[in-house]
Assembly symmetry: D2
Homo-oligomer: 289 residues x 4
């Protein structure tokens, strides 16, 4: 087994024979299937598939593979995409004042646990520049006000294009992106919300969690969409709290959940484990492929 893999993500209307035809194609092309995961959504009558292949079995060009698979896909009406592990995605992190999520991403990236390049960190608070400096990653400081926010988004978009960005991670970036911006990067912006959605959408979730007297708090990583905090959920987790927790201690406890949840979501995305369907995500479990 080589270190390089080829990952297909496939979705279609559920019907007989798809798995047989798809796996037979890969078999006949000479591939060893490292893992083949499927999910049949009986409610939507939809079928989802993630196939991971050993890249060393590819005896011709990538373009040729795509072209050959496209024929099968066409005959079966598949919606599909393919990823090659040699192609590391470019990830830009947007941050504000808090550093815990940013640290976790940079650390895991530094330890080789997140398969990507991070060409740039953009933040609207200069106070966190030291984190970028620590990890030797370029830092772009962008002061933002209510007035200049529209214009600043143009600057960010330009930076993203310049850096050929594939994924934007909002690591507790406390600004709401415009619809225009989001539409440029559909299913390519991951946000962390510091609450167990759909509880406490919007601002100040820890304060509201305190006031509501909840006994657990959580965090939610989701793809950003037009509707604030309404995008497809990728990962969530919670921690037990008590009456003794204040809004500020909730924020402390929450910070460890946020970082864990966001890093997991980013990893699932980079490992091509996620298919979005409607407002839900299929997240294929981690395997050793």
């Amino acid at each position: 087994m080589s270190d390089y893999k080829i990952t297909f993500l496939i979705q279609c209307h559920d019907s007989k024979g798809i798995i047989s035809k798809v796996t037979t194609f890969f078999y006949e092309e000479g591939f060893n299937i490292l893992s083949c995961q499927q999910f049949t959504d009986n409610i939507q009558e939809a079928y989802f598939m993630r196939v991971s292949l050993d890249a060393k079995d590819l005896t011709y060009s990538r373009e040729e593979l795509k072209s050959r698979f496209a024929k099968v896909a066409h005959s079966l009406s598949l919606k599909w995409r393919v990823h090659f592990t040699e192609d590391k995605e470019n990830v830009v992190v947007l941050a504000s004042k808090t550093t815990h999520c940013l640290f976790d991403i940079l650390e895991k990236h530094g330890e080789g646990k997140l398969h990507c390049h991070i060409p740039l960190i953009i933040a609207n608070h200069e106070s966190i520049k030291y984190v970028a400096d620590q990890f030797g990653i370029p830092f772009h400081y962008l002061p933002i006000t209510g007035e200049n926010w529209r214009e600043r988004q143009g600057v960010i978009l330009k930076l993203l294009v310049e850096h050929h960005v594939d994924l934007i991670v909002m690591a507790r970036f406390m600004r709401i992106l415009s619809s225009d911006f989001i539409n440029h990067y559909q299913e390519k912006i991951i946000n962390i919300h510091h609450a167990f959605l759909p509880a406490f959408q919007g601002a100040n979730p820890y304060k509201r969690a305190y006031e509501r007297g909840v006994k657990m708090i959580g965090a939610t990583a989701h793809y950003a969409t037009d509707d604030l905090d309404e995008g497809p959920i990728i990962e969530q987790d919670v921690e037990r709290v008590s009456h003794a927790s204040t809004p500020s201690s909730l924020a402390q406890i929450g910070s460890d959940i946020e970082r864990k949840v966001l890093s997991k979501a980013v990893k699932y995305h980079l490992d091509h484990r996620i298919i979005v369907t409607g407002n839900r995500t299929i997240v294929f479990p981690e395997t050793e492929d």
Copy 2:
């Protein structure tokens, strides 16, 4: 140590010397303090205390104890109540069609884990009578429609009074009690909501959890108040789910969370571990008192 305990629940404005004065009172009256738990709410500037005493140290009457403590309480402006374990509370369970919560309460009661009498089960579905029969508990079937619901609540109230009921447990009872009813039993009605409140208040939480694509589901036990699903939360818990979960499998997974959460909340109430303050609960952790 005898099996019998005396439990004081105390709240007041926070000020110097309260713990000293209260504990000195019990000491001077000859009591061994089995456990003394406190919580200072710095935001509300409020002080909460639970003191558990060995009942064998009581050398005079209960009334005398109350009267003596009342003097201390008055001088310190304490709000307080006292419970004697000899006095088992009377608990009536309201149920509808599902049996998992009802079973758990009856089982734990049968095993001696819930310190109470259960003189009656009331349900609007006769199909679950067999559960009451199994445990030899009187069952009152009360068919309910939209039209007769107001009148039926009168019947229930009458039954509750007849049975000197101290606590009402809504074990997935799918009807909304009127304000009048609830006001008769403030902080004496525990409801289980089949979602992680404040997410998915109201009807069909599992269906809505499915549609929202959450990655964990939960359940919440709370005191019933006028505002549906808005009462003080006693206990919550969650379980991980995935895209593969349908509304019906969520309901299955959820049923194990519901029963656990409801039984815990009922136990906390019966062990006099809960003080309600505003819309929040102080739940003193379990101890070996």
Copy 3:
């Protein structure tokens, strides 16, 4: 989709083309694959598969299906078995003095959540007969001493054979079965150990957990083997405890974990989600097949 399913569990040495050939067989035989789950163990170079089919697509006899699949299996060197949901397994529960696990199994069975018959409960304490009576299940009381235990196992074996038992559930049955007994029912005896194995194997785990001062306790459901508490683990779970927990409160907290873990393991077994390999289990996640 009918209510009836056909489930194949397959294992073999990992090699190219297996999934293609197996799924093509089912496709060509006219089956709709409800779910197809796989796992490749790269360390053992082994391949595992669970295929669930819609039974209404079976247009010929079960024997014919087995015979046709046997040919494919032979050509691919598959080890396999097939289950038809019409065939409910016969499950006998062995219990001693505590009732929580027994209750959970009987309740879930009563609610239709465990797909099996329960023809008999065998216990060495008559005090729990009332539970069997509640659920209307025959109860066999078998007083056991150190001296008669060998002979008693013979009696149990005879009862199991009489009732055509497919699965034996040890619901906190506090006796150690002989190797002879266990060898009669390999991968057909599920035991619950009241600790997070391999911690606290053997007797008195809660007492030892207390003495060791652990901050979480757990329970483990596993297939019984010759080596006490060493069999393949099916399911585990834990709960947080504290210094305030005594051996008896640990046992109380633990009882809720035990019942949950044991019932899950039994359900996985009855839903044919488990393949044992060496001393490990593959447990295919729950799906809506």
Copy 4:
């Protein structure tokens, strides 16, 4: 309320009147009690107490406070110690090759979440120096072999004395300290073991967890004692895994548990929440004092 607190940790044989006498002392000395936590161990007949005071109420010298309290303590046979938040503890981190625990400690320290100084990091692998450099903390590289390990411990001891070290954190430091070393720092060395103790004591826990086929893995922070991995447990946590996890993926999943558990244990220690009794720890829950 000032930012400074005075924390008393007290233990004694359980007897009537202790809480009354201790709290009355603080009240009469003019202190506002920020929090008062107690635990009565009925099995050991021992009593434990943590009292947190507002330092601004201290109207005389620290020495005078100690001397006055010593009289009360003597009359009640209390074992006690007192901590002043102005006195930050000096913490040295020992590490080897992996960086996740080290990162978490340094980050939380940098964010002000760990109340201490970190004057030095000592490691037997130079490859992790960059982490110390990132955070601007002196790094001492100490190559260790089987032969020089005894001598190297002398060097470490000397460094610890030079830096007036109060707490040693073994952040996945893969060497076993000698009894001599440990006896110098009783209850002052916190180690993280990468398993849910007492499961998988000793070397290679993730490999052994894989072989045993456990369904959850964990980590344990404990005080180091003579008996390897047998010291008093401070904190534990677990995460669910599956048959699909290999030893290396277990190590990855485990790394997030380890860092969380170790940082929590260090925080509990630095906040003076821990009393060791026998081989167990009392960990008073976090409060807003």
